[in-house]
Amino acid sequence: MSSIYDSFSQALSLIFHLDAELLGIIFLSMKVSCIGLLVAVVLGLPLGVFLGIKKFRLKGILITVLNTFMGLPPVVVGLFLYLLLSRSGPLGFLSLLYTSTAMVVAQSILAFPIVAALTHSAVIGVDPVIGQASSTLGATRLQVSLAVIREARFGIVSGIVAAFGRVVAEVGAILIVGGNIAGYTRVMTTAIALETDKGNFELAVALGIILIAISLLINSVLHIVQKKGMVGVS
C-alpha cells in the first residue's frame, strides 16, 4: 500500500516539476497521435461519408471489413508494418523504420477504420430528407454531402474521439515500428512500459496520470460540444 502511495506522491512532484525529457515525451506523444489521427480523418471521413451516401456493389463487404478492422490488434499492425518498412522489406528504401513517421503511419492505420466506420454509421443515421432539402435549395453534390456531414457532425466527432482514445493509448504497434528510442520515438505509453520494466514506478505513474488527464480533457471537451449540439439547449 505505502508503495502505491509513494509512487503517487513522487509522481505528482514529477508532474509539477516537469523536466525537459518528460515534456519532450508528452509532446511527441501528442504530435504522433494527432498527426496519425489527422491522416486517418483525412482519409477515413470521406470514405465513411461515401459509404453512407453512395450505393454500389460490394459495399456491404467493405463495411464488414471496416468494422472488423476497428478491432485490429495493434501488435499485428506493428508487425506487418515492420516487415514492410524493414531494410530487407519491400519499402525498406524509404528508411522509415524507427522514425516518428513510421509511428504516425501505424497510428493512422489503427485509427482509420474507426473514423471511417463511425462516420459511416453517423451518416446513415441522418434523415435522407436532409440531403433532399439541401438539393432543393440548389446545392451541388459536394454541398449536399457537406450538409449531410454537418448533420452527422456529433456522431463523426464521437468517432474521431474514439479513434484518438485508441491512438493515444496505443503501445504495441508504435513500440515495434518506433523502437522506443530515447528522444526520438519514445512516447508516453512506450515510456510507461519501459519505466515499469525498470521499476521506476514514479515516472511510470506520472506519465500514466498525464495520459489519463489528457483523455479526460478531450472527453470533457467532447461532452460539452455534444451537449451544446443537443436540441433545445442553446
Binding site: 504530435k31 498527426i35 489527422l38 491522416v39 483525412v42 524493414s86 531494410r87 530487407s88 525498406g92 528504401f93 528508411s95 522509415l96 523504420l97 524507427y98 522514425t99 516518428s100 513517421t101 504516425v104 457537406l146 523502437g179 522506443n180 528510442i181 530515447a182 526520438y184 519501459l194 520494466d197 525498470k198 521499476g199
Partner: protein
Amino acid sequence: MFRKAVFCLFLVLCAVVVRPVQGFAATEIICSSTTSTDNSGLFGYILPLFEKKTGIKVKVVALGTGAAIEMGKRGDADVAFVHAKEQELKAVKEGFFVNRHDVMYNDFVIIGPVDDPARIRGMKSASEAFKKIAAAGKFVSRGDKSGTNTKELQLWKMVGIEPKGQAWYIEAGQGMEKTQRVADEKRAYTLTDRGTWLATKDKDRLAMAILVEGDPMLFNQYGVMAVNPARFKGVKYKEAMEFVDWLISKEGQQTIASFKDKNGNQLFFPDAK
C-alpha cells in the same frame, strides 16, 4: 471554415512528414542493444560524448538479446551492441555482421546468508555451488526472463537440475533488488550482478555476503559489431565503424570505465583487445 481547417491541418502534416527526412542530413545510426544494457544508463552517459566528438547521433533500440541480433540480421540496425558472444560469433560467420569486438564485461556473483548453510563459500565453480544449494539450501530466482534469470537457468541446466516447482526454489518475479531482499528474508541464495549488489547491500541491510565469484561462467561479455554493408544497401557502415572504433579505443574504454551508477559503483569493466 471547414476547408480552412483542413488546409491548416494539412500544412502541419506536411511539416512533420518532412522533418524526419531532413534528419538524414545529420548522421544518425541505429544501434540495436538489449534492454538491460539500455536500462543501466550506460548509453545515456557515453553517447553524448561520442556525438560531441564525431557529430554522429546513435539511436538505441533496446530489445531482448535474440531480437537485438535478429534486428541487425534484417538490416534494420547499423550496429549491434549485445552480450551473447556465441550468438554474435555465429551471426558474424553467417555473414550478417562484420568487425565484432569485445568491449566490456560485467559479472554475476552468488550471494547467500553470511553463515552459508550450504557451505559454498570460496568455491571456484558456480555450477558446483548450484548443486550444493539444490541439495542443502534455498534459492530465490528472479523468474522474469531477464539476463540474470537466463544465466541462472543456464547454470541449472549445466548441472542437470530442473528447479521449477521444487520446494527449495522460489520465483520472485521481481527486479534484482527486491529479489535480493526476498533471499535475505528467506535466508536463501541468489544470483545477482555485482553492480546491484554493491549498490544495495548496505542500504537494504542485507545479512548476506558474496560467496562465489570469478568463475568465467559468471562473466557477461559485451560485444559490438557492424551490420555487413555488402548485404544491406542502406546501412551506414562508415558511421557504424566510427562508433565501433571509438568504443574499443583507449578513450572509449576509459569512458566506459568511468561510468558509475547512482551509488558511485562501476558497472562495466572494459576489456577490448
